[in-house]
Each structure stands twice: as structure tokens, then as C-alpha cells.
């Protein structure tokens, strides 16, 4: 087994295991279908690794600081992969200890790595219109 195949196999543990860093994630695709379980095992809830990091971004000379949630998902657990230009709802806990989920979407191009078997989404919060 190659190192890449080992890495793909380990994604379940390193990305999704809720005993480690995994947190629950629910996706609603543009067709209105909800994805809350793994594509490979429907008894296992969909999980991902969420980063709630702070960072500073320089924007045309202006500095902005904010929290920036990103979620990394195991491609092997998705029946449909979020693409750029699509409107998805991504529900994640607003903080690692929360038991409720907040609604996010994304505009930035998802980072899809077939080699590593992962997709990373840069999330924007949604508020009620």
C-alpha cells in the first residue's frame, strides 16, 4: 500500500473521528438534498475537521481581522462534492463545544485535493433575510 493510499485510509480517523478532531457537519446541496451521513456508512454521521482560527488579511492596504471557520471534509464520505459557483448550506457548530449547528455558505473556490482525498471550504455565515 502506497503512502498516499495509507493517507486516504487514515482520513476517516484524522479528519472525521469525533474522538479526535472531527466535528459534526451537515451539507445541503443546491438540489435541496441534505447530507448528514457518510457516503460509505450511513450509520456514521458526516464529520469534518473545523478550524476556528483568527487571522489578519491585507486587503488593498486595509487590514481586517476576523474569525475564519474552515471545514475540511473527507472526499470519500461525500456523495456530491461542493463545487465553485454552487450554492450550498454548510451547517457546523459555531464553536467546538456547541451542540447546535449554525448555517454557513461559501463563495471562495473550494480547495479540492483528489490526491489527498480532501476538500476544504472557506465558510461565510448566513443570516436570516
Amino acid at each position: 500500500m502506497s503512502l498516499r493510499q495509507k493517507l486516504l485510509r487514515d482520513n476517516e480517523r484524522t479528519i472525521e473521528s469525533q474522538k479526535d478532531f472531527g466535528l459534526p457537519v451537515v451539507l445541503i446541496d443546491p438540489d435541496g438534498t441534505t447530507h448528514d451521513t457518510s457516503a460509505t456508512d450511513d450509520t456514521r454521521s458526516l464529520s469534518g475537521r473545523i478550524a476556528y482560527s483568527n487571522f489578519t488579511e491585507d486587503m488593498n492596504g486595509n487590514e481586517i481581522v476576523s474569525r475564519s471557520p474552515t471545514v475540511t471534509l473527507n472526499l470519500g464520505s461525500l456523495t456530491r462534492v461542493p463545487q465553485a459557483g454552487e450554492k450550498w448550506i454548510v451547517q457546523i457548530p459555531p464553536n467546538p463545544d456547541s451542540e447546535t449547528l449554525s448555517d454557513y455558505t461559501y463563495e471562495r473556490h473550494p480547495l479540492i485535493s483528489r490526491g489527498l482525498g480532501r476538500v476544504k471550504l472557506f465558510l461565510e455565515i448566513i443570516e436570516q433575510s
Binding site: I28, P30, D31, G32, T33, N54, F55, T56, E57, M59, N60, G61, N62, E63, I64, V65, S66, R67, S68, P69, K87, W88, I89, D103, Y104, T105, E107, R108, F122, L123, E124, I125, I126, E127, Q128, S129
Partner: protein, 221 residues
């Protein structure tokens, strides 16, 4: 100098007329928190960019006419908007969810609209003829004020929000007088080296002396 008073008057003018539409913050370029400039908390920063002497309208001994450039920087951020009651309702039909997703408004579009809306308000205040001298009572502080240029940044995805910054260039003229300088520290007074006029007919003699200015204007001897 008058341009400092003019900038302060401008900040006050904008602050007095903001009416909850924006906040005027700081007098220098500074970091903004995306969460802090959300919705009507958009910020307007006013800071001096440059002053350029108008040679045609200035004499050697003053008053000195300066063409001032002040940057008005508007920062706004927005979240995406959607009908979450439909999306979160487990009884909603897939068609209803799809419709709600179609109506989802991207944060970038909303942030840009927010910055433009704020600029509309700021432009209206500054270019109101009643404020032609930044509401200065005797209308002498500034002349020929004009917002002659503005530029909007690309939307920036900042954390879970999207921010947009609009830079507007405000130009106006001020007249400055040189009032002389005052020594900063009386214990280290200003020193001026004086030379007697060179006498081409007499014997060469060193008349150089030091004059210590004890206080008051630096021009005093």
C-alpha cells in the same frame, strides 16, 4: 495649521450627520475588525494623505496656499442572507429549499452595496452646499472642496464575513500662515550663528558671535 482644523471639522461634520448610518472612527489608518464594521456599523476613517503647495497662488512670504488631499475610507462587511426558516425546517419540501438556496444573497454583493450606500451618505454630507467649508462658521477654513475620485476594493473574504473598502479622495484648498517656531526646551535654547557684513575695505576681522535665544519666538534676538 488650518488643514488640521479642517480635518477635525470634517470628522465632526460627518459624525454629527451620521444618524446611525455609519461610525466615524480614528484619525489615522487603523485595523478594522470585520465583525465590528458589519451592517450599519460601517466605519468611515478620515486621514490626511498629502498637501501640495499651489505656486500660482502663493507669495514668498505667505500666506501659503495648499491643495490638500484627504482620504475618506469606508469599510463595510456583510454576511450572506437567506431564508433560514425554510432551510432549517425539516418539513420543508426540497423544492422550497432549492428556492431558498436560489434566493441566497452572497455576502460580497451585499458588502459592496453597503459600502456604496455609505458613500452616498458621506458624499451627500460633504457636498451639501451648506457644508462647503465643513460647517465652519465664517466659511474661511477651506475652499473648493470636492470629492473628485473614489475606488472600491475587490470584496475580501474575511473569516465568515465579506468586507469591502471604498476609498474616496477629497481635495480642498487651505491657506496657511507661518507663525514662527518656539524653542521646545528652554534649557537647550536655539542658537543662531551671526556674521557681521564682510568689510571689503577694512582689515579682515572675525566678528562671528553666538546669540542665544532665551525663549519666545525663534526669530527674536
Amino acid at each position: 495649521m488650518n488643514f488640521i482644523d479642517a480635518r477635525k471639522a470634517l470628522v465632526e461634520l460627518l459624525g454629527d450627520n451620521a444618524a446611525g448610518r455609519f461610525r466615524v472612527v480614528g484619525y489615522k489608518k487603523q485595523q478594522q475588525g470585520a465583525d465590528d464594521v458589519r451592517d450599519n456599523n460601517r466605519t468611515v476613517q478620515v486621514y490626511t494623505r498629502k498637501g501640495k503647495l499651489d505656486y500660482d497662488s502663493t507669495s514668498l512670504n505667505g500666506p501659503y496656499k495648499y491643495g490638500m488631499t484627504i482620504v475618506i475610507e469606508i469599510t463595510a462587511s456583510k454576511a450572506a442572507r437567506a431564508d433560514l426558516t425554510v432551510i432549517k425546517d425539516p418539513t420543508s419540501s426540497p423544492a422550497a429549499v432549492v428556492a431558498a438556496l436560489d434566493d441566497l444573497q452572497n455576502a460580497a454583493e451585499l458588502a459592496r452595496e453597503s459600502a456604496e450606500e455609505c458613500y452616498d451618505a458621506v458624499f451627500g454630507i460633504i457636498m451639501d452646499s451648506r457644508n462647503k467649508a465643513f460647517d465652519d462658521d465664517d466659511d474661511t477654513l477651506v475652499d473648493r472642496r470636492m470629492i473628485d475620485e473614489f475606488e472600491i476594493s475587490n470584496p475580501s473574504h474575511v473569516g465568515s464575513l465579506v468586507a469591502v473598502t471604498l476609498f474616496a479622495k477629497l481635495t480642498f484648498d487651505t491657506e496657511e500662515e507661518a507663525g514662527g517656531d518656539t524653542p521646545l526646551n528652554a534649557e537647550t535654547p536655539a542658537i543662531r550663528i551671526e556674521h557681521e557684513p564682510f568689510d571689503i575695505t577694512g582689515e579682515e576681522q572675525d566678528e562671528t558671535s553666538e546669540t542665544v535665544v532665551e525663549g519666545g519666538s525663534g526669530n527674536e534676538v
